[in-house]
């Protein structure tokens, strides 16, 4: 299977041949930063378009269909529009925190984005505590949300932020525990190692029942973490206009919007990395011919197809179910999801010991 390592190594050697080692490292950092930001923006455009189309299809509509064929340039047009919008100053808001909040949210999500293994040899940061890093840095977003609510000088924003804080902190427990199941099974926290271990069968098939339960609970908890669908208490546009980003305008609002969609992508990407084998092709032990054919499909395609599958599930759920009340939401987490995750973790430990 073709590896992106060849490309990155070629860039590395050709840079080193024309400058000092430190200079090459610096240029590489800048290149990676640009690549991640561009990928982030392009994915966001794609996701916004996909969400609008899929939402429309679930409601028996056609969705955007005017800008370009099938409206594919709709989100580009929206992006240009949002860049040209005025940034409105809010009276008596805490200006510093108000501006900082949107950056917190987007930095949290960009940093998580960088740790995802997109294809064979295409991963920006590969810590030996990768899972821990993802869980830790993605919860930076909640700080941004709380800051946004606090600094906006608006009751709607405040209530939205408080709800969001309660919700994110609760659901992170379930998400973390679900990922722990895979960490226990694979014995490592390094994402590249986890992906490598799934070469002869994805964890969702290899990991017996607990892995499947963990997959489902992770999807639910992750979905709640992205503040979408039946869990969009923080926004709750029928009650709170837009929740924590009510007072934001222009590109600051755009940051929240982008981060929301990219968090959806990140959750789906982590789910497919941890449970569905990341960029590993579908291998069935014993079927050598089949495995060989599967190897010809490029690794990033495998990754994106799996991620799109998870994202489609999330959108499907979002457009199917009514919004939960805040007490129902927290009840679901503390009374149902977390006990299941804990029991599941014990079950997985038993499986591993046997």
């Amino acid at each position: 299977m073709w590896s992106f390592e060849k490309l990155t190594e070629w860039i590395d050697t050709s840079l080193r041949s024309c400058m000092s080692a430190d200079g090459a490292l610096l240029v590489e950092f800048v290149l990676i930063g640009i690549a991640i930001l561009v990928g982030y923006a392009l994915l966001a455009l794609f996701l916004i378009y996909a969400e609008r189309k899929i939402c429309a299809f679930f409601q028996c509509r056609l969705g955007p269909n005017r800008v370009g064929k099938w409206g594919i340039f709709q989100s580009v047009a929206d992006m240009i529009k949002i860049l040209l919008k005025e940034l409105i100053q809010i009276n008596k808001s805490d200006k510093m925190l108000f501006r900082l909040a949107s950056f917190f949210v987007i930095i949290g999500s960009v940093c998580t984005f960088g740790a995802i293994p997109f294809a064979k040899g295409l991963q920006a940061i590969d810590f030996n505590v990768g899972v821990f890093y993802i869980l830790a840095i993605s919860s930076l977003g909640v700080v941004g949300i709380l800051l946004a609510g606090w600094s906006s000088n608006s009751k709607y924003s405040m209530i939205g932020a408080m709800r969001s804080g309660a919700q994110l902190i609760s659901y992170e427990i379930s998400a973390g525990l679900s990922l722990m199941v895979i960490v226990v099974y694979s014995g490592t926290m390094q994402l590249s190692e986890i992906v490598a271990q799934q070469a002869d069968g994805w964890f969702i098939f290899k990991g017996h029942v607990p892995a499947f339960i963990a997959f489902v609970t992770y999807l639910i908890a992750g979905h709640a973490e992205t503040n979408r669908g039946p869990f969009d208490m923080a926004e709750a546009e029928s009650e709170l206009t837009a929740g924590y980003h009510t007072e934001y305008s222009g590109i600051q609002f755009g940051f929240f919007y982008l981060a929301e969609y990219l968090n959806l992508f990140i959750i789906a990407a982590v789910a497919s990395t941890m449970f569905l084998g990341g960029w590993q092709p579908l291998h069935i032990p014993g079927w050598d011919g089949f495995n060989h054919v599967m190897d010809y499909i490029p690794s990033f395609l495998w990754f994106f197809v799996k991620t799109c599958f998870c994202m489609f599930m999330a959108m499907w759920v979002r457009w199917s179910f009514p919004r939960l009340r805040i007490d129902q939401l927290l009840g679901l987490e503390w009374k149902i999801l977390m006990p299941i995750c804990l029991i599941n973790l014990i079950l997985m430990s038993v499986v591993v010991i046997l």
């Binding site: 429309a56 679930f58 409601q59 509509r61 056609l62 269909n65 199917s320 299941i340």
Partner: protein, 179 residues
């Protein structure tokens, strides 16, 4: 028992969620109902009671059925219609007679309630399906419904009779006239 109930509830809940997702998936695969307007121009049929533009049908000899009674003007809730009449000498009887001069209709203030068509005793005005009303200036919305040089149809006796009988039954009246 309580624990059993708790576990049972989880599975029942999951089953119900799956049912909900099944229903939305059916919707996802169903043909879409969106009508694409400029594309379906000319091919799309609108209902015959659709009220878009008030018109006064004229026959081949440039005759209309308006007797300048002013009922439409009086029934209009917001003064959209102005019936301007003039006196003429009847060629048959030699007596003076009120005939229509101008039937003025302000499209800009019409709310398309249809009261004028149901009030008209002769069925001289009816709604057509032409809904593309946008123009650049407001005075282009001031329309004159009777054509220049048109006159009352010479005694369409049976037609007038039936229309007069219908006055008491406004609902049917609308239906027959807007056909």
């Amino acid at each position: 028992m309580k624990v059993l109930n708790y576990i049972k509830n989880i599975f029942v809940g999951l089953w119900h969620l799956c049912q909900g997702m099944y229903v939305t998936m059916l919707n996802f695969c169903r043909p879409k109902v969106t009508l694409q307007y400029p594309e379906n121009r000319g091919t799309r049929e609108y209902g015959e009671r659709f009220r878009a533009l008030l018109t006064m049908p004229h026959d081949a000899d440039n005759h209309h059925k308006c007797i300048a009674c002013g009922m439409c003007m009086n029934s209009c809730p917001n003064g959209t219609i102005t019936v301007v009449s003039k006196m003429e000498t009847d060629t048959v009887t030699g007596k003076p007679k009120k005939v229509l001069d101008k039937h003025l209709y302000n499209l800009g203030s019409c709310i398309f309630c249809g009261l004028c068509t149901s009030a008209c005793p002769t069925g001289a005005i009816r709604f057509s399906n032409e809904f593309e009303h946008s123009v650049f200036t407001k005075d282009r919305l001031l329309l004159q419904l009777n054509r220049p040089g048109s006159s009352l149809a010479p005694k369409p006796a049976p037609n007038t009779q039936t229309a007069k009988q219908d006055v008491g039954k406004p609902v049917e009246n609308v239906a027959t006239k807007t056909v």
